[in-house]
Amino acid sequence: METAVLDRLHTEEFLVNMGPQHPATHGVLRLILKMDGEQVISVTPDIGFLHRNFEKICENRTYPQIMPYTDRLDYVAAMTNNWAYARTVEALMKVEVPKRAEYLRVIFGELQRIASHLVFWGCMGGDTGAVSPFLYGLRERERILDLFEMTCGARLTVNYYRIGGVSKDLPAGFHEKAKAFVKYFKPKLKEYAELLSGNVIFQKRMKGIGNLSQNAALALAVSGPVLRGSGIRWDLRKDEPYSVYPELQFEVPVGERGDAWDRYLVRFKEMEQSLQIVEQALDQIPPGDLLAKIPKVLRPPKGEVYVRTECPRGELGFYLVSDGSTKPYRIKCRSSCFVHVSALPEMLDHKGHLIADAVVTLGSIDIVLGEVDR
């Protein structure tokens, strides 16, 4: 078309409300997209639809009672949330957790990481339009949830970790079942790499989308696979090792360009690494106590502490202020997803991305709205 005609044609930008009810927002997130035709000019996330003020609830609960509420923060990775909270209170009380409990924590934490990344992997397929990977991902996740269920009785809201240890020992037959899963899952990972990662359409959809530079990643304090996708090798399990991670062999995969494809690959490789960790931990787990010796009624000393833990989606930090009573004076939950959503405009604004790319970018930061809104 001649430019003269284009000039005469009246066009205008328009707003698209993506969400709160939209198939691709992974929950009740609302993105206000300013669009020029199919192109996204800017994005304004609107959150809070799932807000229940977790922090205020915690101020009215005793320390052990808060544990079930942490399940519901990031409900796709409840185990690691439990862990993050337990670690925070333990840091305040200076509790030494028994070795066996630490191993159990690592096993379930890493299984949870695989389960969570499987959901991500499936949703990524779903976001790009391939539905079957979603079902495959959930199928494998079911096996992990079976392991959770036979140990602690629940699949999603596990409430398994306790301050100073874990609540239950491994049931009979767990070792065999977990080993069988590891054996079953390894070839599956290869299959999935062929099915989705190798697919030319999928690669085209993911590469070069939603770039986040290293500087921006640091300035916005993103964490976990998003940070590593931007090429920064930072993993709390390696760099500030807690629990028994120093005794286990694993690598920290990083990306190069910081686009959706890198974030996807980082998560995919993390699944392999987590599988390795689970395998080692299952072999090395010593016998021993499950709970440290802690008083029945918990009264952590006066003080405050900020502890962060590497969860599947990034670092979950708890800022805990104690006034010496049985209830925390203040808990601030610094959720990684909250930060990642705030980084969304940085990834999308004015880059000429299309609406489909917005969906892919949102999928690639893998948010859970339970944790964003708290």
Partner: protein, 161 residues
């Protein structure tokens, strides 16, 4: 020119590889179950439904009404009051659980010193009326008794098999 052609061939090949993975599934068995017809066997540890257990031999109440469960409950959905029975032992008078508030965390079961409040592996407990979610003591004990008969059936089946 060559990258263009090789790109087409590689892309085409990757699509064939994708088909190679999905098509064989057509011949495999489904892994899901037909729920109301088939039912899942739950694990021993499954946190299904709360119940109030009695002593198996003497059929006496285990609960002493100590209210530890009520104190442990994060959502404060358990109401317990205490009384003394004919023998002068402490028993619970009222024992109510508001299942609409319950978050199935199991802290009450862990807190109970008498193992009176227990998990039952039942998972079909939807009701038609919200009022029915306030479960009182006789119902809680009935749930436990029902679960016992279920156990017996399973044991019987095992013996037959």
């Amino acid at each position: 020119m060559w990258p263009y052609i090789s790109g087409i061939i590689k892309g085409f090949w990757s699509l064939l590889v994708g088909m190679k993975i999905t098509v064989p599934y057509l011949g495999r068995r489904a892994i899901t179950i037909q729920y109301p017809k088939q039912k899942m066997e739950m694990f021993e540890a499954f946190r299904g439904r709360l119940a109030l257990a009695r002593d198996r031999e003497t059929n006496k109440e285990k609960c002493t009404g100590c209210q530890l469960c009520a104190k442990a409950c994060p959502s404060a959905c358990i109401t317990v009051t205490q009384r003394k029975d004919e023998e002068g032992k402490r028993r619970s008078e009222v024992f109510e659980i508001g299942m609409s508030l319950c978050c199935y965390c199991g802290l009450c079961v862990e807190a109970c010193p008498e193992d009176a409040i227990v998990w039952v592996r039942d998972y079909e407990y939807s009701v038609y009326d919200r009022k029915q979610l306030l479960v009182d003591k006789p119902t809680l004990e009935a749930i436990w008794r029902n679960s016992l008969s279920q156990f017996k059936k399973e044991e019987f089946n095992e013996k037959v098999a």
